[in-house]
Symmetry: C2
Subunit: 233 residues, 2 copies
């Protein structure tokens, strides 16, 4: 086993969904030899889903990492993909990383940074198709690996994503030991976690909720895709 530290960086931003990174953060915190860093453009303090996180590092202060991971949330479209400096830090760190990863809508930020061209990737089910605008191939699986790009679906998929990545980095026995320590034998009280299995009335309800706020998000995605295309010319 290597003695080298595995540096894992979560690149966060205002409007991130906290469980998108706290789930995988907890998994990685059990990985022997891992240094798990949460960093934003500004560093310091960040509010997320009603929690306040402090002592964040600045992305610009991190020279390199083994894993870069972008979590999701409405802030992906409201902030991250409109922030060229943030996207630049993603590109810079991705170039140093063994794995370039995202959870939930975080993959849209990877796309906007030009890191998903020609890659199969997933996202939150309601946003997955948008990845095609950045040249990615949307994949409906919960955890998708294409080369060194590993993406997870919506919010809770971050736990499955992280265990998958731990198995890749440290072997399946380490991942299984972490799974047992975290008692990850999930037993959801309902079968409603994917659009394909949710009761139709529940799916309509959530689609309506999302549609009510979707317009500025879709507009920001389109604008980011146009900027990326212009850069690539």
């Amino acid at each position: 086993m290597s003695e080298r530290t595995t540096i894992i960086v979560f690149a966060v931003f205002p409007g991130v969904t906290q469980l998108d990174f706290t789930g995988p953060h907890q998994v990685f915190s059990f990985l022997p030899g891992a240094e798990v860093i949460v960093a934003s453009s500004a560093g310091g303090t960040l509010k997320s889903s009603g929690l306040t996180f402090a002592e964040l590092r600045r992305l610009a202060d991190i020279p390199a990492c083994d894993v870069i991971c972008v979590p999701g949330g409405h802030g992906v479209t409201d902030n991250a993909i409109q922030d060229d400096a943030f996207l630049g830090e993603l590109r810079r760190l991705a170039a140093t990383a063994r794995f370039v990863t995202a959870v939930c809508r975080g993959s849209i930020a990877l796309g906007a940074a030009g890191l998903l061209r020609g890659k199969r990737a997933t996202s939150h089910w309601a946003w997955r198709d948008q990845l095609a605008l950045f040249g990615a191939v949307p994949d409906p699986c919960r955890v998708v690996r294409d080369g060194n790009v590993v993406t997870g679906g919506g919010v809770t998929a971050g736990i499955d994503f992280a265990l998958t990545l731990v198995a890749e980095i440290a072997g399946p026995e380490v991942a299984q030991a972490i799974q047992l320590q975290m008692e990850y034998a999930p037993a959801p009280p309902f079968d409603a976690g994917r659009p394909e299995i949710a009761p139709p009335a529940i799916l309509s309800r959530v689609r309506d909720q999302n549609a009510a706020t979707a317009k500025p998000h879709l507009k920001a995605i389109k604008a980011a895709a146009d900027r990326l295309a212009a850069q690539s010319v």
Copy 2:
């Protein structure tokens, strides 16, 4: 539907495991009309599993709540159950609450506060049997309800626990909509999340890890149980 706010309080302490409360916190943050509070004895800032949480409230400043929830972590035995003021706040808030709840080893703190006498309850699988010292009946289910006491198993069980509680508070449709929004259709890459199904070598490995640090925890539990018994005479 009631217009009244549902106040949900996570009572945290140094050495809490972050996913024990960030998982259910994310679920409850989607509950319409909910105010979700994280509070400790001192308030302010708290480090947990490598993250720093800020702007915590003080338990003593919260007059009442609808749900009191105690998450787990090594700090339950290192701090929470040795802190009479913390246990007193749990008792005071529990007396105002509709639901008295815990995730993972948090149920040991409920026990030490005298809130589990005669109640069926669960905990992290490695610590569940200890609940009997506080007059509780250990139950191996992932989420256990006995009257107004609702407890979840280790770490990740907090998500199943929270969806169960949301269904109780706001109905199954609301819980299912939250489950779909969080894409909670878990697909663990391995079947190792419970001692009954984990490969024997993995179970031995985790048992050995836990045994190496268990002694002071077990001693603190025994002492807390003795103090509780002395108070009850």
